[in-house]
Symmetry: C2
Subunit: 89 residues, 2 copies
DNA sequence: AAAGTATTTAGATATTTGTCTAAATATATA
DNA sequence: TATATATTTAGACAAATATCTAAATACTTT
Protein backbone atom coordinates (compact mmCIF):
# COMPACT_ATOMS: atom_id res chain seq x y z
CA UNK A 1 0.00 0.00 0.00
CA UNK A 2 3.01 2.24 0.30
CA UNK A 3 3.14 3.06 -3.40
CA UNK A 4 -0.56 3.67 -3.42
CA UNK A 5 -0.61 6.19 -0.61
CA UNK A 6 2.48 7.82 -2.05
CA UNK A 7 0.83 8.16 -5.45
CA UNK A 8 -2.30 9.65 -3.93
CA UNK A 9 -0.35 12.13 -1.80
CA UNK A 10 -0.21 14.81 -4.49
CA UNK A 11 -3.04 16.97 -5.75
CA UNK A 12 -1.82 16.97 -9.35
CA UNK A 13 -1.84 13.18 -9.43
CA UNK A 14 -5.28 13.06 -7.85
CA UNK A 15 -6.53 15.47 -10.52
CA UNK A 16 -5.05 13.28 -13.22
CA UNK A 17 -7.07 10.37 -11.88
CA UNK A 18 -10.19 12.52 -11.90
CA UNK A 19 -9.82 13.51 -15.53
CA UNK A 20 -9.11 9.91 -16.52
CA UNK A 21 -12.38 8.98 -14.88
CA UNK A 22 -14.28 10.31 -17.88
CA UNK A 23 -12.04 9.29 -20.73
CA UNK A 24 -8.73 7.66 -21.59
CA UNK A 25 -6.22 10.30 -22.65
CA UNK A 26 -2.75 10.57 -24.13
CA UNK A 27 0.12 11.90 -22.04
CA UNK A 28 0.01 15.13 -24.04
CA UNK A 29 -3.71 15.63 -23.55
CA UNK A 30 -3.22 15.14 -19.84
CA UNK A 31 -0.32 17.56 -19.73
CA UNK A 32 -2.39 20.18 -21.57
CA UNK A 33 -4.68 20.41 -18.58
CA UNK A 34 -1.95 21.51 -16.18
CA UNK A 35 0.46 24.42 -15.89
CA UNK A 36 3.30 22.01 -15.37
CA UNK A 37 5.93 20.89 -17.87
CA UNK A 38 5.39 17.71 -19.85
CA UNK A 39 8.36 15.95 -18.23
CA UNK A 40 6.88 16.61 -14.81
CA UNK A 41 3.53 15.21 -15.86
CA UNK A 42 5.34 12.24 -17.35
CA UNK A 43 6.94 11.67 -13.97
CA UNK A 44 3.59 11.89 -12.21
CA UNK A 45 2.16 9.37 -14.66
CA UNK A 46 5.06 7.08 -13.90
CA UNK A 47 4.33 7.18 -10.18
CA UNK A 48 0.65 6.50 -10.84
CA UNK A 49 1.65 3.58 -13.06
CA UNK A 50 3.98 2.20 -10.38
CA UNK A 51 1.07 2.28 -7.97
CA UNK A 52 -1.09 0.50 -10.53
CA UNK A 53 -3.57 3.37 -10.58
CA UNK A 54 -3.17 3.90 -14.31
CA UNK A 55 -2.38 1.63 -17.22
CA UNK A 56 -0.57 2.82 -20.33
CA UNK A 57 -1.05 1.50 -23.83
CA UNK A 58 1.07 2.60 -26.74
CA UNK A 59 -0.70 3.43 -29.99
CA UNK A 60 1.70 4.66 -32.65
CA UNK A 61 3.47 7.72 -31.39
CA UNK A 62 0.86 8.24 -28.68
CA UNK A 63 0.61 6.62 -25.26
CA UNK A 64 -2.87 6.33 -23.88
CA UNK A 65 -3.40 6.33 -20.16
CA UNK A 66 -6.43 4.88 -18.44
CA UNK A 67 -7.62 4.63 -14.88
CA UNK A 68 -7.44 1.40 -12.92
CA UNK A 69 -9.27 1.50 -9.63
CA UNK A 70 -9.06 -2.16 -8.66
CA UNK A 71 -5.75 -1.59 -6.86
CA UNK A 72 -7.57 0.52 -4.32
CA UNK A 73 -9.55 -2.43 -2.98
CA UNK A 74 -6.97 -3.40 -0.38
CA UNK A 75 -6.63 0.22 0.72
CA UNK A 76 -10.38 0.58 1.02
CA UNK A 77 -10.54 -2.53 3.14
CA UNK A 78 -7.84 -1.16 5.38
CA UNK A 79 -9.66 2.13 5.84
CA UNK A 80 -12.95 0.42 6.53
CA UNK A 81 -11.31 -1.89 9.05
CA UNK A 82 -10.11 1.19 10.93
CA UNK A 83 -13.63 2.55 11.00
CA UNK A 84 -14.97 -0.38 12.98
CA UNK A 85 -13.00 0.45 16.08
CA UNK A 86 -13.76 0.17 19.76
CA UNK A 87 -16.11 2.61 21.39
CA UNK A 88 -15.12 5.01 24.13
CA UNK A 89 -14.97 3.18 27.50
CA UNK B 1 -7.89 16.07 1.76
CA UNK B 2 -4.28 17.11 1.41
CA UNK B 3 -3.47 16.76 5.09
CA UNK B 4 -5.26 13.46 5.18
CA UNK B 5 -3.34 11.84 2.34
CA UNK B 6 -0.13 13.31 3.72
CA UNK B 7 -0.80 11.82 7.13
CA UNK B 8 -1.56 8.42 5.65
CA UNK B 9 1.54 8.44 3.47
CA UNK B 10 3.80 6.92 6.11
CA UNK B 11 3.81 3.38 7.41
CA UNK B 12 4.64 4.38 10.98
CA UNK B 13 1.63 6.67 11.10
CA UNK B 14 -0.61 4.02 9.59
CA UNK B 15 0.59 1.57 12.25
CA UNK B 16 -0.19 4.10 14.95
CA UNK B 17 -3.74 4.28 13.67
CA UNK B 18 -3.96 0.49 13.73
CA UNK B 19 -2.87 0.20 17.34
CA UNK B 20 -5.26 2.97 18.36
CA UNK B 21 -8.04 0.95 16.80
CA UNK B 22 -8.08 -1.34 19.82
CA UNK B 23 -7.46 1.07 22.63
CA UNK B 24 -6.71 4.69 23.44
CA UNK B 25 -3.07 5.07 24.43
CA UNK B 26 -0.70 7.66 25.83
CA UNK B 27 2.07 9.11 23.69
CA UNK B 28 4.59 7.05 25.65
CA UNK B 29 2.70 3.81 25.22
CA UNK B 30 2.53 4.45 21.50
CA UNK B 31 6.24 5.28 21.32
CA UNK B 32 7.06 2.06 23.17
CA UNK B 33 5.78 0.07 20.22
CA UNK B 34 8.28 1.52 17.75
CA UNK B 35 12.04 1.64 17.38
CA UNK B 36 11.85 5.36 16.83
CA UNK B 37 12.63 8.13 19.29
CA UNK B 38 9.84 9.68 21.33
CA UNK B 39 10.24 13.08 19.69
CA UNK B 40 9.78 11.50 16.28
CA UNK B 41 6.64 9.72 17.40
CA UNK B 42 5.43 12.97 18.91
CA UNK B 43 5.90 14.58 15.50
CA UNK B 44 3.97 11.78 13.79
CA UNK B 45 1.16 12.20 16.30
CA UNK B 46 1.11 15.89 15.54
CA UNK B 47 0.66 15.23 11.82
CA UNK B 48 -2.12 12.75 12.55
CA UNK B 49 -3.76 15.33 14.78
CA UNK B 50 -3.48 18.00 12.08
CA UNK B 51 -5.26 15.64 9.72
CA UNK B 52 -7.94 15.02 12.33
CA UNK B 53 -7.18 11.30 12.39
CA UNK B 54 -6.44 11.33 16.11
CA UNK B 55 -7.69 13.37 19.01
CA UNK B 56 -5.57 14.08 22.08
CA UNK B 57 -6.85 14.55 25.59
CA UNK B 58 -4.64 15.58 28.45
CA UNK B 59 -5.00 13.68 31.73
CA UNK B 60 -2.53 14.90 34.31
CA UNK B 61 0.93 14.40 32.98
CA UNK B 62 -0.27 11.99 30.32
CA UNK B 63 -1.76 12.76 26.94
CA UNK B 64 -4.15 10.17 25.62
CA UNK B 65 -4.54 9.72 21.91
CA UNK B 66 -7.57 8.19 20.28
CA UNK B 67 -8.56 7.36 16.74
CA UNK B 68 -11.05 9.48 14.82
CA UNK B 69 -12.16 7.93 11.56
CA UNK B 70 -14.94 10.34 10.62
CA UNK B 71 -12.51 12.60 8.77
CA UNK B 72 -12.01 9.84 6.23
CA UNK B 73 -15.57 10.07 4.98
CA UNK B 74 -14.80 12.65 2.33
CA UNK B 75 -11.77 10.72 1.17
CA UNK B 76 -13.78 7.53 0.96
CA UNK B 77 -16.42 9.26 -1.13
CA UNK B 78 -13.71 10.55 -3.44
CA UNK B 79 -12.21 7.08 -3.89
CA UNK B 80 -15.60 5.52 -4.50
CA UNK B 81 -16.47 8.21 -7.04
CA UNK B 82 -13.34 7.24 -8.97
CA UNK B 83 -14.42 3.64 -8.97
CA UNK B 84 -17.60 4.34 -10.90
CA UNK B 85 -15.78 5.36 -14.05
CA UNK B 86 -16.53 4.92 -17.71
CA UNK B 87 -16.12 1.50 -19.32
CA UNK B 88 -13.64 0.79 -22.07
CA UNK B 89 -15.04 1.94 -25.40
C1' DA C 1 10.92 22.46 47.08
C1' DA C 2 13.52 19.00 44.60
C1' DA C 3 13.65 15.13 41.80
C1' DG C 4 11.41 12.14 38.63
C1' DT C 5 8.30 11.16 34.71
C1' DA C 6 5.76 12.37 30.31
C1' DT C 7 5.68 14.91 26.45
C1' DT C 8 6.82 18.48 23.28
C1' DT C 9 9.77 22.02 21.04
C1' DA C 10 14.04 23.42 18.77
C1' DG C 11 17.51 22.79 15.75
C1' DA C 12 20.34 19.87 12.76
C1' DT C 13 20.88 16.56 8.96
C1' DA C 14 20.21 13.13 5.34
C1' DT C 15 16.74 11.59 2.13
C1' DT C 16 12.83 12.08 -0.75
C1' DT C 17 10.06 14.72 -3.77
C1' DG C 18 8.26 18.02 -7.36
C1' DT C 19 9.78 20.78 -10.64
C1' DC C 20 12.59 22.52 -14.43
C1' DT C 21 15.49 22.52 -18.95
C1' DA C 22 18.02 19.93 -22.26
C1' DA C 23 18.63 15.81 -24.61
C1' DA C 24 17.25 11.20 -26.22
C1' DT C 25 13.99 7.96 -28.31
C1' DA C 26 10.25 6.63 -31.16
C1' DT C 27 6.82 7.31 -34.55
C1' DA C 28 4.62 9.88 -38.47
C1' DT C 29 4.65 12.65 -42.48
C1' DA C 30 6.28 15.48 -46.35
C1' DT D 1 15.37 10.67 -45.88
C1' DA D 2 14.65 14.85 -43.42
C1' DT D 3 11.59 17.18 -40.40
C1' DA D 4 7.90 17.38 -37.15
C1' DT D 5 5.41 15.50 -33.20
C1' DA D 6 4.84 12.74 -28.81
C1' DT D 7 6.85 11.15 -24.92
C1' DT D 8 10.41 9.87 -21.82
C1' DT D 9 15.06 10.04 -19.66
C1' DA D 10 18.82 12.53 -17.45
C1' DG D 11 20.55 15.69 -14.46
C1' DA D 12 20.05 19.69 -11.47
C1' DC D 13 17.93 22.16 -7.65
C1' DA D 14 14.85 23.91 -4.04
C1' DA D 15 11.46 22.46 -0.77
C1' DA D 16 9.47 19.05 2.16
C1' DT D 17 10.06 15.16 5.23
C1' DA D 18 11.65 11.69 8.76
C1' DT D 19 14.76 11.21 11.94
C1' DC D 20 17.96 12.33 15.70
C1' DT D 21 19.81 14.63 20.20
C1' DA D 22 19.41 18.24 23.52
C1' DA D 23 16.61 21.27 25.92
C1' DA D 24 12.17 23.06 27.57
C1' DT D 25 7.62 22.52 29.70
C1' DA D 26 4.28 20.48 32.63
C1' DC D 27 2.77 17.48 36.05
C1' DT D 28 3.56 14.19 40.09
C1' DT D 29 5.63 12.43 44.03
C1' DT D 30 8.68 12.38 47.87
Amino acid sequence: MNNLFKALNDSTRREILEILKDKDLTAGEIADQFNISKPSISHHLDLLRQAGLVVSVKDGQYIYYSLNTTVMDEMLKWIISLQSHKNKS
